[in-house]
């Protein structure tokens, strides 16, 4: 399944500057694995110690939040465009 992954600027230093990556994956967990093989630093930054996507990173597939599509169970279709966007919170200490 060939999908396009769009990488936001703050993450590009971990993808040798690439803003768009083509890869083959059928689900989000598989995509994280595939990205990790090519870009281990990227995976370290977007996943926590348990290998889960970090809490503040949102994933969109063709502009829809993947959580509305079934999250990790969602099966990518050929040509899907996947967008990683940090959820921007103000926080409070």
């Amino acid at each position: 399944m060939s999908i396009q992954v769009l990488i936001p600027t703050p993450l590009r230093k971990h993808t040798s500057g690439a803003g768009q990556i083509s890869c083959n994956a059928s689900s989000l967990p598989e995509l994280l694995g595939v990205l990790g093989l090519s870009y281990p630093e990227l995976r370290r930054h977007i996943c926590d110690e348990q290998g889960q996507l970090r809490r503040f990173l949102n994933v969109y597939v063709n502009e829809e939040d993947i959580r509305f599509l079934g999250g990790s169970d969602y099966r990518f279709s050929d040509g899907d465009e996947v967008l990683l966007i940090p959820s921007i919170a103000g926080g409070a200490s």
Partner: protein, 415 residues
């Protein structure tokens, strides 16, 4: 330039200094402004604050602005008023309204946060400021950008109330209506911020901007005679205001400006967009996003960025979150207006409606001091009252016609 603050990652605590930045580049968690409280303790006293002009800048040491920053606009210091008639409805004995319906210059609490964003736009040399907004932020950005001589580009969901649209355009801001909900507008803004060198109020300036919300908390404490309330009820959209009010109370305690005291934090949402209250009621620490559908458009954020922290603030304080139907929202707007003479926007209806529920559930004790945060003016959302108020037929300008017209008014007494 003397800056007594800097950005730090909320999760991994990496310090990043001061720069326009949306997230920690190490772990993609949110950034938070931190201060040197030991330094602030030496100069910020109740007496020093009392000498200063009313407004958010009287707490300037606790805001992300350099000592040299010339802050002139009289923003904030809105009335904290007792609400005895409304209190009777709730069987409360000490109820207050923190009334940001009258915030300068655009009649909502967003004037406070945008003041911080404008200071940063100057500091970092941006010529264009942008934002994604459900309306109030759009108004505040457009007005303050005009005042500061900056260009503004404001993105809103296409279905916003007409007053919020006019209130943005009149200042000369570039308005972009997006066919979609706020969450879609916000995602688009993240992408735009990535591509353009603009100061995006709620993206790369967000950590600074959100600090302005703390002034609601400082003012409540000062206006209560430097005491913290027992309970505060706060409307929630992205969840930032409620976390910042808590931060403000914690800071005042840390600085010795108020006696330590547990404050229960209560969050209010409309049922048609209630990701945070749903999570609190289910005992979850993270939100599940929703597709909003509510009359309270200013709160219609289905994927609240600060949802996780709002849940922490609420549950950690022993508070609770509730939500109310659209009918209850409008009922509460009318109740607030009819009892206290305050015409709040739909978000105010959400807060008052939820407060009513919390009192009825016994979650707020009647004898405790409770503050309801009213965050925006009702003139901005008059559409919500459609069908509720009947426009009377005109009468001839004759006394007899008036008497006939008023005959059903039992208390009308002719002199």
């Amino acid at each position: 330039m003397t800056e007594r603050y800097e950005l730090q990652c909320r999760e991994c605590r990496t310090s990043v200094g001061n720069r326009p930045s949306s997230v920690c580049e190490e772990c993609f968690s949110p950034l938070e402004v931190t201060y040197d409280y030991d330094d602030i303790r030496t100069c910020l006293t109740r007496e020093a604050i009392a000498q200063r002009a009313p407004g958010i800048w009287r707490y300037r040491e606790l805001l992300p602005v350099a000592d040299e920053y010339e802050a002139t606009l009289p923003i904030g210091f809105t009335p904290l008023v007792p609400a005895p008639q409304l209190a009777r409805h709730f069987r409360s004995r000490r109820l207050f309204l923190k009334n940001d319906c009258f915030c300068f210059p655009t009649l909502s609490f967003k004037d406070r946060v945008v003041a911080m964003a404008m200071a940063q736009a100057r500091r970092f040399g941006f010529e264009v400021v942008g934002c994604a907004s459900t309306g109030n932020l759009a108004n505040a950005v457009a007005a303050q950008a005009a005042r500061a001589g900056l260009r503004a580009c404001v993105l809103i969901p296409a279905d916003l109330e007409s007053a919020k649209v006019v209130n943005t355009q009149v200042y000369g801001a570039r308005l972009v209506r997006v066919a979609g909900n706020y969450d879609q507008v916000n995602r688009l803004c993240s992408q735009i911020a990535d591509a353009y060198h603009w100061g995006f109020v709620n993206v790369n300036l967000r950590a600074y901007y959100a600090e302005g919300s703390k002034t609601v908390g400082y003012e409540i404490a000062e206006q209560l005679g430097w005491r913290l309330p027992d309970n505060v009820v706060v409307p929630m959209a992205g969840g930032s205001l409620i976390t910042k009010i808590k931060k403000a109370f914690d800071e005042l305690v840390k600085l010795g400006l108020v006696e330590p005291k547990p404050v229960k934090i209560f969050g209010a949402q409309a049922t048609g967009c209630s990701p945070i209250s749903t999570a609190v009621k289910a005992g979850q620490s993270d939100i599940a996003p929703q597709k909003p559908s509510t009359v309270a458009r200013s709160l219609a954020i289905g994927n609240p960025a600060d949802g996780h922290y709002a849940i922490q603030a609420i549950t950690g304080s022993g508070g609770w979150a509730e939500d109310v139907s659209d009918k209850e929202v409008v009922d509460a707007m009318q109740l607030l207006a009819a009892t206290e003479g305050v015409f709040a926007e739909t978000a105010g209806g959400v807060t008052v409606g939820v407060a009513r529920k919390l009192f009825a559930q016994g979650r707020i004790s009647p004898d405790e001091t409770t503050v309801l945060c009213i965050t925006g003016n009702g003139l901005k959302t008059v559409e919500a009252l459609q069908g509720r108020l009947e426009l009377p037929e005109p009468i001839p300008a004759k006394l007899a016609a008036f008497q006939e017209h008023i005959a059903d008014e039992a208390e009308a007494v002719a002199v």
